[in-house]
Symmetry: C2
Subunit: 413 residues, 2 copies
Amino acid sequence: MQHVQCARCVRCGREYEATPDVTTCQCGGILDIVYDYDYIRRTFSKVNLEARRDHTMWRYRELLPVEPETPPTPLRVGWSPLYEEPRLAEQLGLGKLYVKDDGQNPTASLKDRASAMAVAKAREAGAHTIACSSTGNAASSLAGNAAAAGLKTYIFVPSRAPKGKVAQLLTFGATVISVEGSYEDTFELSKQAIDRWGWYNRNAAINPYLSEGKKTVALELMEQLAWQAPDYVAISVGDGCTIAGLWKGLKDLYAIGFIDRLPRLISVQAAGCCPLNRAIETGEPWRPMEENTLADSIAVGVPRNADKALMAIRESHGLTVNVTDEEILAAQQLLGRTCGVFGEPAGVTGTAGVKKLCEQGVLGRNDTVVSVVTGNGLKDVANAIRACGEPITIPSDMGRLLEAFDQRGIRVE
Amino acid sequence: MQHVQCARCVRCGREYEATPDVTTCQCGGILDIVYDYDYIRRTFSKVNLEARRDHTMWRYRELLPVEPETPPTPLRVGWSPLYEEPRLAEQLGLGKLYVKDDGQNPTASLKDRASAMAVAKAREAGAHTIACSSTGNAASSLAGNAAAAGLKTYIFVPSRAPKGKVAQLLTFGATVISVEGSYEDTFELSKQAIDRWGWYNRNAAINPYLSEGKKTVALELMEQLAWQAPDYVAISVGDGCTIAGLWKGLKDLYAIGFIDRLPRLISVQAAGCCPLNRAIETGEPWRPMEENTLADSIAVGVPRNADKALMAIRESHGLTVNVTDEEILAAQQLLGRTCGVFGEPAGVTGTAGVKKLCEQGVLGRNDTVVSVVTGNGLKDVANAIRACGEPITIPSDMGRLLEAFDQRGIRVE
C-alpha cells in the first residue's frame, strides 16, 4: 500500500507496519492509519472521482487502506442518500439541514462500512473466519458482508439486542453467542475467544481499519455537497468509533485539498449513557456509566474508542448534547413524518441533538447542518410502536370507520 | 406528455385520455398506459442514459408517464443492487444467477417504485391526500414517499399485517385503519372511503400508473446487465401488479430497441394461495383462493390485477411454480447464508421458485436467471426467527462457551 505509511498509536505515538491483522499498541493504545497525503494528492483528483461509475464506498480507494489488488466486497455498501430537508429546517429554525440516511445500506446501518472493510482486510490476511462483539449492528453487518464473501463468522451480542438484529445474524448463517450481561461482558468473552482461536478480529477499537471504513460516510457526504463543507455534522455516539471515522474522513479531504474548511462535529449521546460527552463537558477523563437508554446501539457504558472519539470532538471544536429517550423517540417521529426517513432510536439520536440545540438557540438560521441517521427503524420495531401507538382497528364497515374518525377527532378534508 | 398516447383498457380496448387521476374502464377493466415508441426512440438513447448521474427510477423519465415539469419525488427510489451470485448458481446447478435486491429501497420494498409514481401523479392532479389498501408494503412505501413530499395519507391494512410494517406507517404519520378481515375486506372499505372523500387513489389495480413505476425494476436490471437479456426473470406474485410492471418494462425496452430479445417470466406463488398460477396451469379462468401462507405480501386470494398478470405470464411464455411456506423459509436462509441478502418471505419467494425449478430439472446449466427479491427481511422478523432458531445464550464465561460449542457439535477451526 504505497499510500499508507504506518499505523500509529494515538496514545504514545509508536508506529507499526500496517499489516492486515495489526491490532492495538503495546501500551494498550488504539492505532490510527497514517497516509502519505502527498502521494495521494498526486494520484487522486476530483475530476477522476467524478468520472467513476462505482457508487459504493470503494469509489474512494485512494483514501482506503487496502492493497490495489484487493477486490471490493460483494454487497453494495455506501453511497447512501443525502436529502436536503427544507421543511424540517424551517420547522427547527435552521438555515439548511441535510439528512444522510445511512440506514440505506445492505444490512441497514452505517456499520456496513466498517464490516465491508473488515472483510476486505480479512481476505488480505488470508483469514476464513471473522469474529466480533457488538450491540447488534456491527454484528449483523459483519454477518451479512462476510456471508456474501463466503467467510465464516462468530458473533457475540449482549442478550438485550433487539430480535430484528439477532434474526439478521442467524439468517446470515453466523454462529451467534448471546451473552447474559452488559456490552462490556460481551466484549470480554469475545476477546478471550478470539485470542484462543485466532479469528480475524472485527472489534472496532481493536482493529484500526474499521474507522477507515466508516470514514467513507464523510467522503460521500462531502462529494454529495459538491465539496462545500457544512458548519456542523451531527451524529450519535456510543463506542466512539463512528464519530472518529467521520472526523478522519473530513480530515483526509482537508489534507488532500478537496475541502477548504472543516465542519464542527456535534456529538450526541443518550442522557442515560453519555460517558464521552460527560468527559468533554467536565474536562475530566471519561468514566464508565450505566447503560440506561432504549437506543441500544449507543448504550455503551465503557466506550472502547474513547481516545479517538474525544480527540475528534476536541479537534473539531465540537459541540456535545445529551438527549433523553423521549427526545429520541420524538425525533424518530419527526424524521418519519417530515422526511419519510425511518431511523432506529440510536439512528435518529443525532437529529434529536440537532433539534435540542435549535431549541436552546445554539444552532439557528445561519447554520448549515448535516445529520447522519446511522440505522434503519425496522431494526427495532418495538420501540417505534411504543412511540407511535396503535392503528385504528375496526371491521370492514363504513359506519364503524366514521365512528372511529369521530371518536378520535379526525376531520377528513 | 408527448410520449404518452392514451390509457387503454386491457379487457375491451377502449381508450381514455391519460389524465393524472384516470382509474378503470367503464367495463371494469384495468387500463394500460400506451406510449408513442417512435417518439421515444427519437428522444432517448443508451448513450444519453449512460451519461446520466441520477441513479434513481427517475433516470428513465422518457419511459415514465409524467409531465416534463413534474419534479422527481424526494426519496431515493430505485437503482437497487443487482448481484451476480456464482456460488449460489453453482449450488443450484444454474448457468448464471443474478439477485436484484429490491429490499434496498427507502422503505425497504419494491413497492417504493409504485408509490413514488403515485406521489408524482397525485401532485400533477393537485391532490393533497393519497389513500390505499395494502397487505403492508404498498402502504408503508406510500406513507414514506408521501411524507417526504408533504402529502397526507389514509391507509387501510388487513389486521394480520406484520408489526414492522404498521410501525413504519405510523412513524411516517399516516392515518392507519387496521381492518379485521381479509385483504379483500380491506380493499372494499378503502374503495368506499376513497369514493366518499375523493382522495387520490393508490390502489394498484385501480391506478394504471403504478405498474409504470414498478416497471423501472426491469429497466434497471437490463441496464445493469448491459442490455443482455437473461433467459428468465423470476418474481413472487400476489396481486399481479408487480409481475405486470416487470413485463411492461421489458416490453418497453424491446419496443425501443434497447434489448433484442425478451426473457421469459417465472411466476412464483405460495402453494397456499396461488390463484393466478392455477389459472395458467389449468387453462381455466382464475378463481379466488384462501390466503394460506406466511408470505403476507403475496397472500392475495382475490388478485386485483389478474388480467395484466395473466397476460404478462402468457405473452412471455412464462413458467409458473408454487412453493410451500417451508420452501420459502429455506430460500430465506439460503439467500442469507450464501449471498448476504435478507429478504422477507414474499421477497424470497421468487428465489424459492428458482430453486424448485432447478431441483425439478426445468432450469439448469444453460440458463441465465435473474431473481428479484422484493422486500427486506427486517419487515417480518418473527418469521425469520421461526426459520432460523435461537442463538446460543450463556453468561460471559469461556468454560460455558466451550461447553455450549461441545453440546452443539460446533468444531472451531
